[in-house]
Symmetry: C2
């Protein structure tokens, strides 16, 4: 897949593993449970639910299949071994970048992306190059340099278009695609938030340290 | 899953890995390619093919999705990382024993099992117990002790029934399930084949060795 990153998440179940460091994703899902149920009740097209109910009327049970998608170089083994044996759904791992198509057309009814919609597929060109007008001297990309902000926004626009186009084809008509994440109101900079301020302090300290080494 | 074995296949790509030791499965698939194409042309229900052709008429391309099934403790990571990036099919790994249901009803059109249909899920009770009438003193289970043969046959009957019942539910009506493996004509014992004879010689040698240690 063209979008497979060079870096890999740490596998296994150790203290630095992806498995032990997805608390944001889990917390969001737990916090959003009620909203999720509301959305499913209100927005999932009625025809689709009726179809399913028709199947039940004929004596069938509804069967659930859950697809877990991640980059092909992530640790699916730990995921599979951690699935509860008593689970009442069929499961499958789908390797590939979520910026590409990873499933056939019309193949899922409800999709969830939890705390991953904010990623860009790469750092825009020039951001780490001191001689580029795009060199980012800040900790954040919504700081002083407007060109940096634009470069990230351009990259993000390309990435999200790919992601949403791919999901639109994979989603069954009338299905739901739920996007969970944290975001900010228009006009608020990351550097103005309670999360951004300490990051900027850290950035300033590192800059000072680097200056002293040069002297 | 109830049928997950305690032993695991060796992961990775090393000399003793499952990845490097599935030449039987590969050879069979290559040898059977022509027969497979014949079966697909002749046996795959025409209505189903017509349905697909209808989709093509409307300007869609047929999309293929391949599910790879294996026990949840096998190495899916190596499989996923080895899939060709230029592949023209969607892929998914399905963890679970093929003796259980692993996919929803009517979810695949063509299934393949290559050199795995001969496995039993466990060694029948008593086979390794010296004091049991089922103790198997031979290298093979179709040798001298008729009770051993029956115990294996009983276990195999249970296992294959589970396997075929599960696939029958998962298969789309009119689809194909292809079983590749090597077998023997009725009445021929494994101990009479060119593969069985050297195994029996080895068995006899080990028995002789064990006798000498006892003296």
């Amino acid at each position: 897949m063209s979008n497979t990153p060079q870096w890999i998440m740490i596998g296994g179940e150790g203290p630095e593993s992806y498995h032990q460091n997805s608390s944001y994703q889990r917390a969001l899902l737990e916090a959003a449970k009620e909203k999720m149920n509301e959305a499913i009740s209100a927005k999932l097209t009625l025809n689709l639910i009726t179809d399913r109910f028709t199947i039940v009327d004929f004596g069938y049970n509804i069967e659930f299949q859950v697809f877990f998608n991640d980059f092909s170089n992530n640790d699916f083994n730990t995921l599979f071994q951690g699935l509860p044996p008593e689970r009442r759904y069929y499961s499958a791992g789908v390797p590939g970048s979520f910026l590409d198509r990873v499933l056939p057309k019309k193949s899922f009814h409800i999709g969830i992306i939890s705390y991953a919609f904010h990623f860009t597929s790469k750092v825009p060109k020039g951001i780490t190059n001191r001689n580029s007008p795009l060199w980012n001297k800040d900790m954040h990309c919504t700081g002083i340099n407007k060109a940096v902000k634009k470069a990230y926004l351009d990259q993000y626009s390309v990435d999200t278009k790919n992601l949403l186009d791919a999901r639109a084809e994979e989603l069954v008509p009338g299905g739901l695609f739920l996007i969970f994440g944290s975001c900010m109101r228009d006009g608020v900079k990351m550097s103005e938030t309670c999360k951004g301020v300490p990051m900027d302090c850290l950035g300033a300290s590192l800059n000072d340290l680097a200056q002293q080494v040069h002297i």
